[in-house]
């Protein structure tokens, strides 16, 4: 159960940033998995090759994710959004194709420089504890706590600060925000920064918890995508709920049936939800 909670919290953290970007700028970032893996691999490389220690390594990982997220926005997403040659109704598919290619590029670069082998980032907290007779790695509890803290911080940021309120407003009505005299581009940059940090933390924690390789890029993007759609595109609370549903469903299936079937129930649930309620659990549209 604690295992499931930690996995769910991780999924939630990864998916929150993803859904935030979609809510504010209508961008589905298919290089999501690549950014997470880049963060984890950077943390691993910094800690194991450069010997800077686990804390500095984790920080470097998050920083790399932030830089990669900005690069994604300025090199891929912004040019497509500003392009006059692409008709507006087709920008969506161009952003999808563009970020997908960008993700593959990051993945291939990681594979080229750091090989395909799975890498496990050294955990910040080590050792195991007994919780109700179950031996649980402390790292797992640490992961869950950090995820919850970060999500709480995000909630405070979005609901209690001026910048956060601007972001929230932009996700509801971009044109209204421009009319109020706020620069939409600045808001986008703030959102991508938040996204980069969230993806970075999620990536580094994932690296400590399960280990990552350049092969995890696709599945990570797919799981974030399906959680976000399940919860309702653009709805942060929806994706939090969906993340826990998917996380527990996967863990329970893996324990009770077989690890080979791990992803099937979640996919089936997704198909059912798409048919009955295409806008997701808490979607607005």
């Amino acid at each position: 159960m604690i295992d499931g909670f930690a996995i769910s919290a991780l999924y939630a953290l990864g998916a929150t940033g993803f859904t935030l970007i979609f809510g504010v700028s209508g961008v589905l970032n298919l290089s999501h998995g690549a950014i997470m893996v880049a963060a984890a691999v950077a943390a691993w490389a910094a800690a194991s090759i450069l010997n800077v220690g686990t804390y500095a390594g984790a920080l470097i990982g998050v920083a790399v994710a932030l830089v990669t997220a900005f690069a994604t926005y300025f090199a891929v997403v912004k040019p497509i959004q500003d392009s006059r040659r692409i008709p507006n109704e087709e920008k969506e598919i161009f952003v999808l194709t563009g970020t997908l290619l960008w993700g593959i590029m990051i993945q291939e670069l990681i594979a080229y420089f750091f090989t395909n082998n799975a890498k496990t980032v050294l955990p910040i907290v080590e050792g195991v504890v007994d919780i109700l007779g179950v031996r649980t790695p402390k790292n797992e509890i640490f992961t869950a706590i950090v995820c919850c803290l970060v999500i709480a911080l995000l909630w405070l940021l979005v609901n209690r600060t001026r910048t956060g309120k601007a972001v929230l407003a932009a996700s509801m009505n971009p044109r209204g925000v421009t009319l109020l005299g706020l620069e939409l581009t600045n808001i986008f940059i703030v959102v991508w920064a938040i996204y980069g940090i969230l993806a970075g933390i999620a990536g580094v924690l994932l690296g400590m918890f399960l280990g990552v390789s350049s092969y995890s890029v696709g599945p990570l993007t797919a799981s974030a995508f399906s959680i976000v759609v399940l919860g309702g595109l653009g709805s942060v609370s929806g994706s939090l709920i969906a993340a826990f549903v998917v996380g527990y469903l996967e863990t329970i299936t893996a324990y009770l049936v077989s690890p080979a079937y791990r992803t099937i129930p979640a996919l089936l649930l997704l198909v059912v939800v798409m048919y009955i309620r295409p806008q997701g659990l808490l979607g607005r549209r």
Binding site: V76, R85, L101, E108, G218, L267, Y275
Partner: protein, 308 residues
């Protein structure tokens, strides 16, 4: 339509096909094998372009249709030993059924939601292939006892002929009134419906045609390889290649999609000496084309011709 037979595009395509047809007399079997695969990929990309470029449906799972066709044909041949041609036809029909299944959500949800459904369809198919490993060969792949022919030249001609015929049919369809209605319903379904066109019927037709050609091509490819595996006909990466080919060659051009596919496969082969960086370079080139020439190869060429 009559204008097409006198247009420059027609003569250029005709010349290309003739040149391609006499290639087996001059080049090695290795090059032929590469081009054979590229031609089948060209059909995948053209079938995808019909759905995306015309019907406006973002299908992230072209490999769902391809995979169903390929595996149905392969399993029938493997389990029952039916003749190759019967298996190919049945594989294409199975794809049409798969296309109808895929079309159901498309009529309800739009845009990214439909895109996701198709992606899920691929993942499900992949899971089922792995789970029912007894029947499908699982992750190792399915061995197929029969092949169409082992002659590299003959295989090449079959692929070329198949691609040419498919291109002619799909291009003709896209330029016909049906194609125009599809394009209209892709861009503004409400208005197209208000003009009295039956959108559901047209979209279903687009799915059926696209699925038929994807499945047929998938089945032929399986009998060319002599094996069907997740990595060659189902994996999401294969689907990504199909999409990239179509966007690279120029969406809404049908013929451009085939060019894009051939370019992608041949370029991947040329870059083989660079090892693992090959995929990186191909993706980077594709990204640059997407960013700076959103019309793709053929789109850029055609718009230049239209301007002059």
């Amino acid at each position: 339509m009559s204008g097409f037979f006198t247009s420059r595009l027609f003569f250029v395509s005709l010349a290309l096909v003739v040149i391609a047809a006499i290639l087996p007399f001059y080049v090695s079997g290795y090059v032929l094998g590469l081009l054979t695969v590229a031609f089948y990929f060209g059909v995948f990309a053209m079938a995808w372009d019909l759905l995306f470029g015309f019907a406006g449906e973002v299908n992230f799972g072209p490999t769902f249709l391809i995979g169903v066709g390929a595996y149905t044909a392969g399993i029938l041949n493997n389990q029952f030993g039916w003749s190759v041609y019967l298996c190919i036809v049945l594989g294409a029909l199975a794809s049409v059924v798969a296309g109808l299944v895929l079309a159901l959500p498309a009529l309800r949800v739009r845009g990214p939601y439909f895109g996701l459904t198709t992606l899920v369809a691929v993942l499900m198919l992949q899971n089922f292939i792995v789970v029912f490993a007894d029947l499908t060969g699982g992750e190792i792949g399915l061995t197929i006892p029969d092949v169409i022919t082992i002659n590299a030249g003959a295989n090449y001609w079959i692929a070329l002929g198949f691609m040419t015929i498919s291109a002619a049919i799909l291009y003709g369809l896209s330029q016909s009134p049906i194609g125009l209605v599809l394009q209209a319903s892709g861009q503004d379904p409400v208005q197209a419906g208000a003009l009295g066109f039956n959108i559901v019927k047209h979209k279903l037709a687009a799915f059926i045609v696209s699925a038929f050609f994807s499945g047929l091509s998938g089945a032929l490819l399986v009998f060319y390889f002599g094996t069907a595996s997740v990595g060659t006909v189902v994996d999401v990466a294969v689907g990504v290649n199909v999409i990239v080919s179509a966007v690279l060659g120029g969406r809404r051009t049908v013929l451009g999609a085939a060019l894009g596919a051939i370019f992608l496969i041949v370029a991947g082969e040329f870059l083989r000496p660079t090892g693992e960086l090959a995929t990186f370079i191909v993706s980077a080139v594709a990204l640059l084309v997407v960013l700076f020439f959103p019309g793709g190869f053929l789109g850029a060429a055609l718009s230049r011709e239209a301007r002059s």
